[in-house]
Symmetry: C2
Subunit: 251 residues, 2 copies
Amino acid sequence: MKIQRITLPNIKNIVAIASGKGGVGKSTIAYNLAVNLSKKGYKVGLLDADIYGPSLPCFTGIRHKPSLSEKKFIPHFVNGLYGMSMGFLLEKKAPVLWRGPLLQTALRQLFQDVAWPLLDVLFVDMPPGTGDAHITLGQSIPSLQVVLVSTSQQIALEDTMRCLKTFQKMNVPILGIIENMKTFVCKNCGTESDIFSGENMEALCQKEGLSFLGGLPLDLGIIQMTNQGKSIDQNVFLEKIVNRFLEATHI
Amino acid sequence: MKIQRITLPNIKNIVAIASGKGGVGKSTIAYNLAVNLSKKGYKVGLLDADIYGPSLPCFTGIRHKPSLSEKKFIPHFVNGLYGMSMGFLLEKKAPVLWRGPLLQTALRQLFQDVAWPLLDVLFVDMPPGTGDAHITLGQSIPSLQVVLVSTSQQIALEDTMRCLKTFQKMNVPILGIIENMKTFVCKNCGTESDIFSGENMEALCQKEGLSFLGGLPLDLGIIQMTNQGKSIDQNVFLEKIVNRFLEATHI
């Protein structure tokens, strides 16, 4: 099959946030990383590529269709981000009964049929797994880079390693791994409990020759703020992730 | 496209455990529900249909290929269950770079090219989303029934409702919803914190005319036991789910 390249001359860096396993907090991390970078003065976009389970409409509260200009969608500008999601184009509760080929076409449109402005970085919030979306982007965007998100749960790590190898097979560079939901802090006594008691992520990164970009605890505050469309500021964990991300990308 | 029906005369009930959103504990619940039913004397199978992120090899520690008899795979028998997973057939860390059509073929094989014994119920642990796997099963297994798993997080509920409508559109009956990760219990002081502080799942079920099949807390014990291939016994929450499931299915 001939691969049609997607070219986006306006965008300096295209970074997929991927995980293999779903529910590890990929979208929450993508959103907060993007908003925090924009607060530092970078021009940032967020493309929500999880067509079956879009999260950007939920985070931002925006549900209406973007306007059109010269046959291209104008991305919504919210919380300092240029955002685009299939969720802006579909009815809220509508099921998406699309098989793979239709998904590929829809995904391409989110890149090519959107009037992306000049951006330092466009984050792509990937669907879970290593399916059609991953192959399509890996093969058609030559400048694609990847950040992986995982918990330390054994099963999540296996999926993450599989996702890692999928991208490596397509020669897509991996910027590093972010660990999520490492601990839970009790609101009553402040005790920090390991949730998954799994492998040490920093040690694993060293073993695999990957950069460890930092970690976030399972924080009720982060969940609530993100659900209300707010981003987390002055969070020491997130600040560390943002700085390590900037070092890794040389943006 | 002509739909080829999958017929499984040996199996009385085929129940998909689905969620829309990944990482809500679908596989953990499918595994523990299956093992607990088998302990009650039912003949139970578990088909791990998450081809991109199989969990059964991780839960059971089984990684080797099933043996063949008359060109059919003999499912592994472990912890009282007849289990089959694409993870038994693939190398542990191998990436699965399959587009939709190949996935459909693989999925059909997990049903048809396996020598399933006489079973009261075969649970199908679905991949997240509402993609190829959901359409394939919904359209080709006339007796399919569905149990949905969700957290009360707003974004998980939206995905769950989308998944619900996907199955309803294909006239697949929904047995009910199981809520996961409702609370976290501090190991130090025993304080129970709501994790997602989202919608009341029982009230939502009433509103949507669905059965509420019970809920499980985020329990470090359950995570650790499941990771070690053990199932949870004498757990009051799980016991309630098992009983409500039996009522819903009339098995």
